[in-house]
Structures are given as C-alpha cells and as structure tokens.
C-alpha cells in the first residue's frame, strides 16, 4: 500500500500570528458571554426535549423500538450541545448517560425494564438545579452498572 506524506503549512498557521487580535482571556470571556446570551433559548429547548424523551420511553417497562432508541440518542445528543452556555451543574453528563444507555440497549439481547427511569429522573433533577456534579457522579455509578450489564449481553454483529 502506497503512503504519501505531505508537509502542508495551513493558512491558519500564518494568519493567527499576525499582529493585533485579542488576548486569550478576552477571547474566552467574549465567547462565554455570547453563549450565555443563548442560555434562555437553550433551557426552553432542553425542557421541550425532556418531555419528548419521556414519551419515547413510555411505557417505561417496555423496551423502546430501535427507531425510538435512535430518536432518544439523537435528542440527548442535541441537548448535550445546548448545555454549552447553560448553568446547570451535571446536566451534560446526564444526557451523555442517556446516549450511552440508548446505545447499550440497542446493541443488547438483554432488556432491563424501567432502566431509563433513573437516568431521566436524574436529568430532570439536574435541569431543576437540584443536583450538582458530585451527586450526579454518585448516582451515575448505578446507571453505569446497568449499562455494563446490557453491554455484557451484546448481540452478535450483523443482527438487529
């Protein structure tokens, strides 16, 4: 197999070094202020998505269909992005857990009835500002055990 190496100097390397510009501290501060201005919009979007997530796992005892699992993953992924300027400790981690759980369920032969309930409850509490990072970490240990159990019962590749 032929491998070619190119030594390329990007235009970014040249332009970023030009005199002027702003200090790193100002750049980060200004970016954060811009994101904070979007916070209200994003909080409203997260609230809406949380409602949709609740309906997608209903009834809580039944395994969501593969289509629903894809939607759950996509919505949680979207909400993770919205956390950028939002001041809610632990919230991105909650949505990450939802993504991980949806992925684990989709790949597993095992179904644990009600397994989405703890992570959704944790997410709602975080959204309400009730939990902090440390508490999310503690609660996530059990959620991760669940993910590990599902992952241990993996479907053979190529099977839906």
């Amino acid at each position: 197999m032929a491998v070619t190496f190119h030594r390329v100097k990007s235009s970014l390397e040249t332009k970023i070094r030009k005199p002027g510009g702003k200090s790193i501290t100002s750049a980060v501060t200004d970016a954060r202020e811009n994101l904070a201005a979007l916070a209200d919009t994003h909080l409203a979007l997260i609230a809406e998505r949380l409602e949709v997530l609740t309906t997608l796992v209903d009834p809580i005892s039944d395994r969501p269909t593969d289509d629903r699992l894809d939607q759950i993953h996509a919505l949680a992924d979207e909400c993770m992005g919205y956390c950028a300027g939002v001041d809610r400790s632990g919230l991105p981690e909650c949505f990450l857990k939802i993504c991980q759980l949806a992925d684990a369920v989709s790949l597993s032969t095992l179904w644990l009835p009600g397994c989405f309930e703890p992570v959704l409850n944790m997410t709602r509490l975080c959204f309400g500002g009730v939990l902090d990072n440390r508490q999310v970490e503690v609660l996530s240990v059990e959620i991760h055990r669940c993910i590990d159990r599902l992952s241990a019962a993996r479907k053979a590749p190529g099977l839906s």
């Binding site: 197999m1 235009s11 332009k15 970023i16 005199p19 790193i24 980060v28």
Partner: protein, 198 residues
Amino acid sequence: MAEILPEGRLNLTAVKALCVDSNSQGLEILTQTLTGFGVDKLIRAHTAEEARKALRQDRFDIMLADARLSDESGYDLLRWLRRSTLEHNRFVPVILVTGHTRESQVQYARDSGANFVVAKPTSPIVLLQRIQWVARGGRVFVESDTFVGPDRRFKHEGLPNGVGRRSTDASEALGDASEPNMTQSEIDTVFRPQRVSL
C-alpha cells in the same frame, strides 16, 4: 479552584471559517463561539451538501462541523473533503463536534481525517486550545488507501518490535544499570555548593 487561562494573544480576524451544523441552535453555538474569539468571516452551512458547495466555491482557513448532519454524517463529509481534489481546502484544519459517538461509529470517527474531535457541550476554552494546537502546525498530512488526513500519532512510540536498528537511529533506551543507584545523601552531596580554594 480558579481557572488559569494561558497568556498570549491570537489574531483570528483574517481567518475564514466554515461552520456546518443541521441544528440551527447548534450552528449558533459554533458561530457565536468563533465570533467571541474574533473571527469575522464566517460561512454557515446547514447540510453536508451546502458545505460541499461552499468548499468548492471558497477557500477556508478552518472548518468546524457537527458529526451528525441531517443529510449525512460529518465523518462522511470530511472523508469526501480529504479525498477531493480541492487543493487548498482538502488540507484545511477540521474540528468535528460530537456528543456521544455510538460504539459502532468510534473507529469510523477516528479514521475520518479530523484534526480533532471535540465533545459537546463545546467549551470555549477547549475549542480555543484545539484551534491554537492546530495553528501550531508541524503535523504531516498522510494519504493512503485507507486513511487521508493529519497524522493521527501524537507521540513517538520508539522502534517497533522486531525491527532492526539503523546506525542513524537515536538510542531509545539507557540500558540496564551497571552499578548500584546513588543514595539520596550522595545525590545531595553532588549538588551542595562547595568552597574551592584558588
């Protein structure tokens, strides 16, 4: 603990960035972050198809794209770009933004040819550090049948097992000790300032 930001300045006013995200708020997050950094020239694309059109028409200095687009994945867009004949843009630094990468996609993501993959939510400081890292340059661009993109290796692993050394190879090991290690007091004696009579 108070956050310590690195010192220094950067000038992104002349930089032209392409931001790709099918979610309009996701696109707003990327563009507002770059605007805060001082980027004035921003082109927005909502789909991979729009991004391709922009890449064919214009020269960019950096591209930020979400991994999940409505018409195809950001990874596929990037694979297309790296294998294209767009002589300037195919080498453009690309940072992909992803939430959770599904296990089935991890290897595909790794081999897409991104300079970096950044996790959501996009933290300004992390994104700026990645931009600075990419702007430092020095990374070779690799082109092969199975991979096209910046060299994925970040550290020198040393000689692979079973490969003979050449005379020009730098020594990777000091070799085994031939005498006992010095005690701490012996080491201290070596470093203690001593009076010398001249």
